[in-house]
Amino acid sequence: MNPTNLTIKPTMRIKAFYLFFIMTSIQTGSGIMGVPRYIYMQSKQDAWISVLIAGVLVHIVLAAMFAILNHYENTDILGVQTDLFGKWIGKLLGTIYIIYFFFVLLSVTMDYIQVVQTFIFPRLSAWVLASVLVLLIVYAVMSGLRVAVGITFIFFFLSLWLLVFLYKSVTYMEITHFQPFLSASPLELLQGARHTSYSYLGMEILFFIYPFISNKEKAKLATHLGLGMTTFLILLVTVISIGYFSPGELPEQIWPVLVLFKIVEYSVVGRFDVLVVTEWMMVILPNMILLAWMISHITKRLYHVQQRKVLMVVAILLLIGAGITKHEYFILQFINGVAASGFWIAFVYPIILLPMVWLKGKWKKSKKAGAKT
């Protein structure tokens, strides 16, 4: 039996159609709440160009990921790594993925808890919120990928309506905030593009979920569309934020996207942002559930430990990690650290990996041809 290829039971497979939602949901989470500020700090009023540049680059990375995966029959990145580097280095790289995903999960949890503490409950203990979130994650991941994907799918639609309420801030946009056009240097634009990376993190899930897809021929379209959706969302909030906030104000806002909703007011709802922060749980939960599923899945693949046990350990670590951190500054630093390492793992690594896969394939072919003659 070839250890590289995976066989997935037909009942556990999912349709390529859902990749769109998986992609959008895992990327749109805590990152998008603050992303306009980070880009703006680099490339000022041209931040939206940075977003477009980042979008194009990310699509290229995705194409590279597909090229790597399609080089094999039905495998995930772990199989590829084992094939390329052998058992031990493959395991090591897989472990790096586990740790990395855990840190992403932890950063998302801490970020959301902080948002809730800032907007709704200033004096609520982080332990309480962390345990609520952890319980939900454990309950969902317990039933496996199909339920996780279902949550992603349903919550996507249940939170999509938030977009509608951006209309109010659109009406307050100032066109002068975008002028002068193209004043940022190319380097600044690229720097800005790089700072979107935290919002694009999570697309590595394709590396792990790909063997589960039943109709692979449609996977490319769905995934690229999902990524396009993420780019569109980031572009949308960036453009609105630049237009809405005055130049000096935007860098002051940690979560400009949430503040955008503050202007919305109706005769039945006063502070709309409170509802948005509440609703945001539906945005980040699929994110967290997919991450937790990946951690448990990878650990099982690498070390043959029961997914249940891994999940329990992850839950406890997550609870402790999110419970004890209190300082805003530390959380920001932590997120920046995750974003920086994510940049290398999620975007640079596949690009490096692709030529290696090609070379290995060529080498194998020539070896085979050599053996024949």
């Binding site: 349709k15 159609f17 809730v116 709704i120 409950f121 609520l124 309480v128 919120l129 609520v132 979130l133 939900l136 309950y139 969902a140 039933s143 339920v147 279902g150 949550i151 799918f153 349903i154 919550f155 249940l158 007011e265 109706y266 005769s267 039945v268 709802v269 006063g270 502070r271 409170v274 509802l275 509440t278 609703e279 749980m281 539906m282 939960l285």
Partner: protein, 502 residues
């Protein structure tokens, strides 16, 4: 059957025997039942014994169709002649005591002619049953009004006449080790998904239980997840609903002695469907169905949202509304959670009392409980009158569900939701909603996802689940449950659009 036979344990050869012998044997086997009657007759030179349990056989039939022909004109009888001569169908020749006793218990009359090798039993059971009546648990304005009764024969009769096609299969099964109950598995052979039928059959066959009380407890034995609060099989007392599901390719189960039909597989959304939506025009039907989904959300979330907003999030309420709320709550000494739980409990008490009391008293209790207590509570400053409105609306909304089971589920779910909103405010409500959705995604009905067609996503079935479309769009059956035959009727050729004044 075998098991119960062996319990009595009689292996000695019973027939042929003399009348006296048989009499003592029977008397012993029937445990000296006072209703057990044996009559001895002599025609010609023969002696014969007619025996039965007097209170469960039709006396008139016994006299007219058995005793009269038997005793008229001094004939010589043999068992064979007898079974040909008596105008009653399905006579059974018996030789074993256990089987004879079983037949007697089921309302048969036994006839034995002395020295024959077998005796005959004729089933003439006298079953007491209620007339087919108007349904009061699931009443509809339009469409058929009849409902199932406790008699299986009546129920099958009702369904058979509605679905009068040879395709309808009714498989007979006996469940219950100590008290056997007959059940029927019903489905349309060329339509129902074979996998579903097989799953249901398997679950029924595998069920080992001493006795099933009714159709409802039967579902608890065979459903997918016993721990869930959501019902996973649809239960109805409407033959029209039952037949409607059969013709959509579902599997139905009827249970003897129960006025409830079980249907599976089902989804959460089918609990908000009523056959009435089908009788209505499609646009009106759609409106009412969407209204019910809104009612679901209102009844589950309105009170918790009120509690959350009043306890934690005053800033969400706009100032003019806040003053109204504040003045109404000014005199109330309790925290909002407690106040809401108190009122919800009052409503539940009223509902439960209304269900238990006789109809005439029930109305009085409704007025006393609802109006008098409610008014007095507000006047005494125990609750705010806005909360009374909120609680009343959510209670009202929970009764719009066509299925009583799902209505009660929602009413129960409300209490943990109120508690969560009292502890964590909107975050608590949101966490509970997320929990419920995850839970709904997990459960299945007869192995099929409970949230079909939402997840797994089957967009083509939305017009059958969430809203309705004109009939010519519904020429196919629902994809979600994979019936054998998808096409209901041939699709109409699209009519050419006529120009104005053409």
């Amino acid at each position: 059957m075998k098991k119960r036979g062996s319990r009595r344990g009689k292996s000695k050869e019973l027939l042929p025997s003399s009348i006296e012998n048989l009499k003592t044997n029977l008397q012993e086997a029937m445990h000296n039942n006072p209703d057990f009657q044996m009559q001895e007759f002599e025609t010609g030179s023969q002696r014969m014994l007619v025996f039965y349990i007097s209170i469960i056989v039709k006396k008139q039939q016994l006299n007219n169709h058995i005793l009269t022909p038997l005793l008229e004109g001094d004939k010589q009888w043999t068992s064979e002649k007898l079974s040909n001569a008596l105008p009653l169908g399905n006579s059974v020749a018996q030789t074993k005591m256990e089987e004879i006793v079983d037949a007697l218990i089921m309302g048969s009359v036994g006839i034995y002619i002395e020295n024959e090798t077998e005796l005959l039993t004729y089933p003439i059971p006298d079953q007491q049953k209620r007339q087919v009546d108007k349904s009061d648990k699931e009443s509809t304005v339009l469409g058929p009004q009849d409902s199932f009764t406790e008699s299986l024969t009546t129920n099958i009769n009702l369904v058979r006449w509605r679905v009068n096609t040879g395709d309808l299969v009714t498989e007979k099964m006996i469940i219950g080790e100590r008290v056997p109950t007959e059940i029927r598995l019903m489905y349309l052979k060329s339509l129902a998904n074979k996998e579903d039928v097989q799953t249901m059959r398997q679950r029924l066959q595998d069920l080992v239980v001493d006795r099933i009380e009714d159709a409802t407890p039967l579902t608890y034995y065979i459903e997918d997840s016993s721990t869930s609060i959501f019902p996973q099989f649809y239960q109805t007392e409407l033959p029209s609903r039952f037949s409607y599901s059969l013709t959509k390719g579902r599997v139905g189960v009827l249970v003897d002695k129960s006025p409830t039909g079980i249907m599976a597989p089902t989804s959460l959304f089918s609990f908000f469907e009523s056959t009435e939506d089908v009788y209505m025009r499609w646009n009106v039907g759609s409106f009412i169905r969407i209204l019910r989904f809104f009612a679901l959300i209102i009844s589950a979330l309105l009170t918790p949202a009120y509690v959350a907003a009043i306890t934690f999030h005053y800033e969400v309420i706009p100032t003019p509304l806040l003053t109204t709320l504040g003045s109404s709550r000014a005199a109330v000494p309790f925290p909002p959670v407690f106040e809401a739980l108190l009122l919800e409990l009052l409503i539940e008490l009223l509902r439960e009392a209304g269900a238990r009391l006789p109809t005439k008293v029930g109305q009085t209790i409704g007025i006393v409980g609802g109006i008098v207590v409610g008014q007095a509570a507000v006047a005494a400053g125990l609750t705010s009158n806005i909360l009374i409105i909120v609680v009343a609306i959510s209670a009202l909304a929970s009764f719009t569900a066509p299925s009583y089971l799902i209505g009660s589920t929602i009413r129960v779910i409300r209490f943990p939701l109120i508690l969560m909103s009292g502890i964590l405010g909107l975050i608590g409500i949101m966490a509970s909603i997320c929990f419920l959705i995850i839970h709904l995604l997990k459960i299945t009905s007869l192995g099929r996802p409970y949230l079909l067609p939402m997840y797994p996503f089957v967009g083509k079935d939305f017009s059958k689940t969430f809203y309705r479309l004109p009939y010519y769009f519904n020429f196919k059956r629902s994809y979600s449950y994979k019936p054998q035959d998808m096409i209901r009727f041939p699709k109409k050729k699209s009519r050419k659009m006529k120009d104005i004044d053409e």
